[in-house]
Symmetry: C2
């Protein structure tokens, strides 16, 4: 019961054992401790994480399979370059998937679920973006309530993977005031649509929510890029 389940990316939080090398590297990529485009040298990582090179290489291969690192033959691994195109791509996929997941949620939602959604939303509003990191966690929790129980594990895991990437990026940028307002408003609209059993409207709200989030991230990336030129050029 206390075993980690490295196959499923979703159920990490319940683990009690110390994180595996894979989890640590992954976390360090997501939180940008390994910067985008940075080379990941096996020897360095082995020393950094206090293991031999063997587990490092395996972790990197797994991360490559998941799309977090890219590898070139005989030239090793790099953290995937997360640029505007990258974000646009996964947002476009999410705009398709999340509304579909939401529709199904509407069809099975209970009073308890809605109460929980409202509780998380209350936390979000109380926090009011004071701590970006904590906001990110609450926001993730909010949407996870909707997606996590879906029968389509593939879709749910895809969402989760994309979510973590986006969360990692967002953490590096400020959230504009207008975007903050939109987030709160859309969450409220979503709860309302779900309560009203209006699947179509809920789906539409989610689509707008995801799209807005993506647009905001891409805009922030553009701003940042214009301010400081890239230091990780090829």
């Amino acid at each position: 019961m206390n075993e980690p389940n490295p196959t499923s990316v979703l159920s990490e939080s319940t683990s009690e054992t110390q994180p595996s090398v894979y989890e640590m590297i992954r976390e360090d990529i997501i939180s940008a401790r390994h910067e985008p485009n940075a080379r990941l040298k096996v020897a360095d990582l082995a020393e950094l994480y206090g293991t031999s090179t063997n587990p490092i290489r395996e972790a990197l291969q797994q991360l490559r399979g998941e799309g977090f690192v890219v590898m070139e033959p005989n030239r090793g691994a790099r953290v995937v370059a997360i640029d505007e195109d990258f974000v646009r791509d996964i947002i476009e996929i999410e705009v398709l998937i999340e509304p579909a997941l939401t529709k199904w949620f509407v069809s099975i939602v209970t009073d308890a679920d809605i109460a929980e959604l409202k509780a998380v939303q209350a936390d979000i509003e109380k926090l009011n973006f004071a701590d970006p990191r904590q906001h990110g966690e609450l926001d993730t929790k909010f949407h996870q309530l909707i997606y996590d129980r879906h029968y389509n594990r593939h879709a749910a895991e895809l969402w989760w993977k994309h979510r973590e990437i986006l969360r990692a990026i967002s953490r590096r940028f400020p959230t504009s005031l207008s975007r903050r307002q939109a987030v709160l408003r859309e969450h409220r609209e979503l709860i309302e649509a779900i309560s009203a059993q209006n699947a179509e409207r809920a789906a539409a709200v989610v689509a707008r929510h995801v799209e807005g989030s993506g647009r905001h991230i891409i805009e922030q990336m553009g701003v940042a890029r214009r301010v400081k030129p890239p230091k990780n050029s090829i």
Copy 2:
């Protein structure tokens, strides 16, 4: 120019170098030479592919990241169990993604593209399902013409990954006569809609096409399961 590009799954066919261990294991999983649910013991595979255990383990980790194998801590790797739920899950995702990809294709399609589509379709009709393997290749080529140039590489690669899995499964089952007719009809409808620049209709046809394909596979799986009971039970 003649380097393989193991990061991108799409561009394998151009490679001249001998396939990597990863590619071989992957191919053997997809073509069911490694049966679903089969244990993948590192030592056995090392002998089978004529390498040491190290590359094997790395290949397995990558395949795990891509979802082709599942791993349990201290219990090694298994070929992912491809059951009806699995197929349903990825079909549901494809029903969302493929119409979206198709819509964009309609917006950029040229006469040459349509001619190529018609040529492949002619080959398909001429073959008339005589050789399942060859039909699978032609059918893949047909859809690849539509998806492969899409700017959203994430979505295209997701399609390709799903495609290969489905192709591998299909190869194991016969295609019913009614399904054959539907495939030909839907392809023709699709070409027509694309020629007419009718993105919505093209998208609708594709959605129907994918859904029908999924339903057919799932039905065939059910038939097969009822005939011979599973020999790889846990």
